[in-house]
Amino acid sequence: MRIVVCIKQVPATTAEKRYTADLRLDRASAEAVINPLDEYAIEQALRLQESGAVETVGFLSMGPEQAAEALRRALAMGGDDATLVTDRALAGADEWATARVLAAALDRLAPDIALMGMASDDARGSLVPGAVAALRGLPLLSYGAELSVAGAHARIRRLTAAGFDVIEAPLPVVATVTDQVGEPRYASLKGIMAAKRKPMETWSLADLGLAAADLHGAALTRVVEARKPEAKPPTERVENASPDEAVGRIADWLAARKLI
């Protein structure tokens, strides 16, 4: 039984240093090497391996050469091997191109479960898992609070507005998990040292039997404009007022905006 976890490296942007409400330095998630939501998928895969339900765990990432760092970090958390798909033609790849490439790579790796996190950072659409499943002709088990394996089936527990459902599909599947799976582990020092010895392969588009033309030039979408958001009027503040005064001002504010 083999799981391949697809991870994405979030670019290391320099975060503005600030301190939090409880007066600690704020570590913006943008500094993480691995997209934080993918760490939950890694954690789920490693737990399944530790429980014996899964024999091997591999990692797959599509990105620039630097994405190898994210794969090394994943290997430092655990797992057995990693594959990086990198190609200049993939710069600026949109969701469909990404799905196309990942699907081709996953077809070659042929895991029982292709596992991904919920969504990539900065509120992107999280369409890649469903598109990958469609391209590979496999069932999708998405938004799992927990993933388990039973015989030749995989199942997830998905929270709904009205409780939770258990959804099952025969292997092989594509699956995604949420942050409900539990806290991801930190890479241990022995893990970091062991990661260097674990195999990592690098594939180009040609290795996948794809050409740039197959991807419509990597992006079907283009940005036509980028601007700063509308300047909001400065925050109105109510301070040093008695509770009754504050309540009066709030109610007036609500009334002025036709909210009550």
Binding site: K17, Y19, Y186, L189
Partner: protein, 394 residues
């Protein structure tokens, strides 16, 4: 002494920083306020293999080089000085066994120390013997195949929670401290051992600093490190290496204070502009930053000297501890200054960092002792050292 941090060092730093930001920093204020040892963080560090860095791989350690160990301590201290003492003291207490222990003694104890299952502590200082190491009074009287230890130690970091303490006592009181001291491994559950009292301190308050009493504690002769009379040399060899950890700790404390001051300057507005736009503040921050970097680079150079087994490594580690300790005190004091009144109140972390920084000028050899070591080496190199006296170290 030149060195080059590797990609592995960068990876280690990134991993420890993430762990420190997410798990250690949020606990720092509480640890200081309650003066409670953070057992949860000790477990976390142990699980991440971060307490076994100075032990050989064959005993379950990770044999991390001294630069890597410095980076580890620096990143933890950046979040919390108290927590950084956990790996620091694990190494300090174990160093006598590392430098002078037999293969059998190492095999007996290192596995449990490397895994963090056991904690170690270093028992040298006494009420009347601080800087004057040779002034140790504790006795170790030979009795058959054991030694009977009697006396007290004071200011022993983690002495009250350690499973094992490396103890220095006089086997030959007539010969005095330099020639008559021996080193022993004492398991703290041995009858007669007690730690009745803890100090109330200015800083590193979550780290228990204990008085240790030895009431005729019997220690097997197999627990003596090296020959009788080798104790002083073992203690010096230990401190020559362990003071590097303090340098790294001081760099980390300074870095944490600098980070906070930078963030504050970027947010606080007075007179219609942010502090970060004001030259006066910029100058303060520049001094803090450049001095912290200088201390950091010197610490890494000293680590490289230790890794290379340089004959003058004591000079290097003394320089590093001297510079880094003074830098930490200066930078944390300036961080409080940047925050103004807010820097003085416990709601903000810099006053704690300033209180924590002070110890780096005091323990593992005061700054004055470091100056003696550095001066001696400088003068010797210049050919103006004093004539050797009997009992001098080489």
């Amino acid at each position: 002494m030149t060195y080059r941090p590797t990609a592995d060092h960068d990876e280690l730093r990134a991993v420890v920083r993430q762990l420190a930001d997410e798990r250690i920093a949020p606990r720092a204020a509480e640890i200081d306020e309650r003066a409670e040892f953070p057992w949860d963080l000790k477990e976390l560090l142990a699980r991440q293999d971060l307490l076994g860095t100075c032990f050989p791989a064959r005993f379950g350690g990770t044999e991390l080089d001294d630069i890597g160990q410095a980076i580890l301590v620096e990143e933890v201290a950046r979040a919390d000085a108290t927590t950084s003492l956990i790996p620091i003291v694990q190494k300090l207490g174990s160093l006598p066994i590392i430098v002078a222990g037999s293969e059998e003694q190492q095999a007996r104890y290192f596995p449990r120390l490397a895994s963090g299952e056991w904690l170690a502590a270093f028992g040298l200082t006494e009420a009347g013997a601080g800087s004057d190491v040779a002034g140790v009074r504790m006795r170790a009287r030979r009795d058959g195949d054991a030694y009977v230890l009697s006396g007290s130690k004071r200011f022993i970091t983690h002495g009250s929670i350690a499973n094992l303490v490396t103890i220095f006592a006089l086997t030959d009181p007539e010969a005095g401290g330099r020639k008559g001291m021996s080193a022993f491994i004492v398991e703290t559950d041995t009858p007669g051992f007690s730690s009745p009292r803890l100090e109330h301190k200015m800083g590193i308050r979550g780290s228990p600093t204990a008085e240790l009493h030895f009431d005729d504690v019997r220690v097997p002769a197999a627990n003596r490190l090296g020959e009788e009379g080798a104790g002083f040399a073992i203690a010096m060899a230990t401190l020559d290496r362990s003071r590097l950890s303090i340098a790294a700790q001081a760099v980390g404390i300074a870095a944490g204070a600098l980070d906070f001051a930078l963030a504050y300057a970027g947010q606080r507005e007075q007179f219609g502009e942010r502090l970060a736009e004001m030259q006066g503040i910029q100058f303060l921050l520049a001094d803090m930053g450049s001095q912290t970097e200088a201390a950091r680079q010197l610490t890494y150079a000293a680590a490289a000297a230790v890794d290379a087994g340089a004959p003058d490594l004591a000079y290097w580690t003394s320089c590093a501890k001297l510079i880094a300790g003074d830098t930490a005190m200066r930078v944390t004091t300036d961080a409080v200054q940047v925050l103004g009144g807010y820097g003085y109140v416990s709601e903000y972390p810099v006053e704690r960092m300033m209180r924590d920084a002070k110890i780096t000028q005091l323990y593992e050899g005061t700054q004055q002792i470091q100056r003696i070591i550095v001066a001696r080496q400088l003068l010797r190199r210049a050919g103006v050292g004093r004539a050797a006296k009997p009992g001098d170290r080489a």
